[in-house]
Structure formats: C-alpha cells, structure tokens
Symmetry: C2
Subunit: 341 residues, 2 copies
Amino acid sequence: MADQPTTTRIVLASRPQGAPIAANFRLEQSPLPAPTAGQVLLRNRYLSLDPYMRGRMDEGPSYAPPVAVGAVMEGQTVAEVLQSNAAGIAVGELFLAPGGWQTHAVLDAQVLGRRLDPAGLPLSTALGVYGMPGFTAYSSLHEIARLQPGETLVVAAATGPVGATVAQLAKLQGARVVAIAGGDGKRAYLQSLGVDVALDHRAADFAAQLRAAVPDGIDVYFENVGGHVLDAVLPLLNDFARIPVCGTIATYNARGVEHPGPDRLPALFSQILRQRLTVRGFIVHDFSHLWPQFEREMAHWLREGRIQYREDVVEGLQNAPDAFFGLLQGRNFGKLVVKLD
Amino acid sequence: MADQPTTTRIVLASRPQGAPIAANFRLEQSPLPAPTAGQVLLRNRYLSLDPYMRGRMDEGPSYAPPVAVGAVMEGQTVAEVLQSNAAGIAVGELFLAPGGWQTHAVLDAQVLGRRLDPAGLPLSTALGVYGMPGFTAYSSLHEIARLQPGETLVVAAATGPVGATVAQLAKLQGARVVAIAGGDGKRAYLQSLGVDVALDHRAADFAAQLRAAVPDGIDVYFENVGGHVLDAVLPLLNDFARIPVCGTIATYNARGVEHPGPDRLPALFSQILRQRLTVRGFIVHDFSHLWPQFEREMAHWLREGRIQYREDVVEGLQNAPDAFFGLLQGRNFGKLVVKLD
C-alpha cells in the first residue's frame, strides 16, 4: 500500500424516477487520499444492502440527508484496517464501518462502529441478525410492541433479516406468530423457524387466509411493507394494537406518486381513535441505549441456536445494483450482503 | 313522588345517514319503574352534550355499543337523588351519573359516578373542565404528548372544553401554544387565555398562517378535528412529533362515505416512518389511574384562576338536538351543557 490507494466504487449517477434502474448507478475507479492524523484506510469485506438506501437516492426530507449525485452510495460494511493513523487502531483489525458501496475507504476513526471479533460469530452477521437489522427487530419489539404472552403478532417481509428476527423473538416471548412472505419457498422456510402460521401474500385469497390465521385478531403488526398486506391487516386489528412502522418498502418508489382514491386517511384516523391504536415510526438509532443488552442476549441466542438466520450473499461490487433492485422487489431470500473480497 | 315517576326523554328514532337531523330524535314521555333494592330515582339537572354521541348513533364497531333505535340517548348528567333504595345514598345528594337525555332516571347505585359537593366548584363543571373533557386534556397530555418546555403544541377546536384545557395546561408546562378555532370571536377568547398565537381555521390563507405561527415546527398536534386543519398540520410536524387522537369531529358523519382521492394513507405511513411520528388513539377511560391526581390538581388550578373555562348553557331538554347539531358544526362556544331544571 505504498502506492496511492484507489477504490473501486459505485456512485449515484442520477436520481431515480420511480423504481431505480441501472443507469442511476455508475461503477468507477477513484483515487483515495492517504489517511491523515486520526484516519484509517479500510478494505471493505462485506457490504450490506438495505431498503433504506432507496430513500437516500431521493432528494427531499428524510431522516438522513440524501446521497449527492456523483457521490458514492452509502452503506454499512465489515471493514479491515489496511493503514492506521489513529491511536489504538491496529492494521488487520475488523470494524463495522460506514464504508459505502466501494472496495476501499479512508475514514475518520471516530465514525467507525464497533470492533468485530474474527473468532466470534461469522463476520457477515454484523450486518444482519447481529447488527442493525437484528437490533431493529429487538429494540422495537422491546420499546413499541411490548408483547404480552398469548398476543398475536403478524410480521410481513418475514424472511428478511428484520422480519425473521421479529418472528423468532416474538415466539421466544410467547406470542402467536403469523409470518408473511412471497412464494412457497419462503413460506416453507418460515415454517422451519417455528412460526404458528406462514402465509404467502401472493395467494389470491390472501386476505381470507390472514383472517383465518388470526382467530383472536392482531395485537401487533410489524414490518410495514404497505400495499395489500397492510390493507388486509387493518380490519383485523384489535383494540390497543401497536404498529411499529419500520419500513414501507411497497411505497419507497412512490414519492410524489399519486395513489388512486378513495382517500383512506380519514378512515385511518377514525380507526386509530375508535380502537386506540398506536402507530409509531422509528429508526434503530432511536433505541441505541438498548444496544449492550441486545449484543449480550443475541450472541447467546445465536450460539445456542435459538435464533436462526439466513444470508443471501452476492459476489462482487459490480453485482450490487442488480441485487439491490431484487431487494426492493422481494427477490432476495435472507439478509442481502455483497462479498467484496 | 308517591305517584309512579315518569321521565321526559329523547330517544334515537332512526339512525342518521350522514349528518344527524331532527327526525333522528323523538321527544316522549315514559313511565319509570319504582327503584328496587340498590337503585335510586334521579332528577337530572345538567346534561352534557359531546361529539362522541354522534358515534353512538351509528351501528357498527366503536369503543362502546351503539344506542338502540327507540332507546334513550346516552349522556352524562349531574343528577340529584329523589328516592334512594341504596345503602349509603341519601335523598338530595348530587352525583355524576349516566343519566341520559331525559329529566329523570332510575339507575343502579353502582353505575353512579362520583358524589359532587354542592359547596365546591359550580355543579356544571363536573361535566366540563372538572370532568371528562378536562380529564381528557390532562391525561393525554400526561400519557401521550409528554411535552418538553419550549416545544410547540398546536390544538384545534380550542374553545371546546378539551381544547381550551389542553391549551392552558400546555402553557403551564412551558410550551409554545398555537390554538385554532372558527371565527373571530373565538379567536379573541383564545387570546384572552394567554396562548401564543390564536388562528381562525376559516381564514382563506389558514395554512400559511399556521406555517408562520410555528417557526420551529410542531411537536404535538392535539384534538384531531380532521379535515383541512389536519392537512395543514401534517407537513409542519417535527421529527418525533406526537399526535394523540382524541376526536375526529370532521369525519364523525363520514362512516361509510368515500372520500375523493388521491389516497393519502401510503404517504402518511411513509411520513410516520421518516419522521418517527407517534399517532395514538385513546379514550379517557384508558387513563383512569390518573383521576385522583387530576381531581386534586385541577381543583387547585380552578380555584386559583390559573385555568379558565367557558360554558355554553342551553335551557330545556327539547333544545338538546339543535344544540347537538351545532356542536357537530362547531357553533357552540365553550362546554355545551343542557340545563334541565
């Protein structure tokens, strides 16, 4: 690494109109500055692909600023230190990092996430069940859902890393769990996780199947994929039901798009009043005080095999855009990561 | 009272289609049974009229069963005991009671509310600021809004008994308060309560006025009258804003009515996620554990003049339906009660 380091990266070439397409991305080589005092040069080994990235491609208000056109796409990585100009950080150490869609990065040591133990759980789990997605499931169940044993939880997108963890944690908490995904293969996987009922939302009579699966109604609805799943859930909610809103994948592409009427917003407010519902949005950073307890408990459950996880590993940065499109369409099966080695 | 007691009462003659009309009610005389063991005969002195009564006129799911066609309209009253067959209850005592839209009632003593002190605050306040509406304001500010000093609260229907109490309690808690009502007279009254800005929602440029009134955005939106006030509020909400949903007067008449598109439900869920909003419905019974503390604190504030209240007193049961229509249209000014003496 005595030469000037370079990175192979994917930048946002243009903002999408509706669903993102290949032309919205550009693969390029770019020189990196040498790390100055307090900085490190990193080699990214795994890149996490997540639905929130769709929101970063748009201008306009969100919970984080958008990626600028021409800038590298943001993303969490598992990264190895190649050069260190930062006290206390050694070459060869592994970190969770905001490394982006690229092979290498120079970052301030202050922005690095936690140090990863190569002898611990598989490195890629730091991007999934043992990382942000798992923590999203854990913390929002803890802070918003507050399940009581015997209550019924419905979770959609349930083979994703958040949904699958929600489903299994809810079973550990004594709930009846109805898990929803698209396709028979995913349904079989959900059954292997021990949920009470696994449903395919593509079934023609999905709404009727859901109704039959929740004889006591729905107390918690998790993972708002929006669209027809939400439509089927709303009439089945019990009084005092909680809806943690942690994703609306079905509407990520819909910014500024008009949905045909009728306007269901007034009826939703009436239902929230009549049934004393709680609808609460969150992002995982809101609950960071729970991280130490999550890390301890989840490591234990993973080692004991009480929480299962599944990864969808794509090889090579150049395949990231296609994999990302598939993620938005529900084509991935398990936590989607790109292996950059 | 040696004769068979009778009551003059208003029954639900038919269910309304949209806004209720006079033909949905019928005034009639009805004999009452003599109170049996454990019962009391009551003379109702004040009847409370409230927006929730509109919901009771419809069939279908709500947080309480509907009034049956032909049955007396439900309502809270301040009632005096005329005959008592119940241990510990004496003739002449005053109670809050589910007395209904009628001059007299025979009730089980168990369903009576609290005993009222005729030497205390004016009796009618037990139906308003010192009763359910005041407690609705108090308890939901306490349990859902959780105002921090310096935050901005917007309250609509602010001359009503809930809204006016919310506005004043929020000022006591150090918030910036923007209060909304219809018409200049109501606006002037709100200013006399000490709110920071009072707005008339009928103004042509209401949305712009609201935007100018909340330079730091909106942290809590209270009293969901729905309609164009909610429309103007939604884009001004801050991250982590709380929306206690305690009434949707503008949509009470809209059960089963289709609202023209576009459908704003998907956008609302996106906003709840993006801004981590909390939208939570409640009815006052959910927070009954707070009643003793409310009673103690509110009595103190009322005696010290730190909380003001205003009543709109209608004379005579026969005028109750007209007054109720006015309530749904926002024509009342202050807590609406019917004096039955």
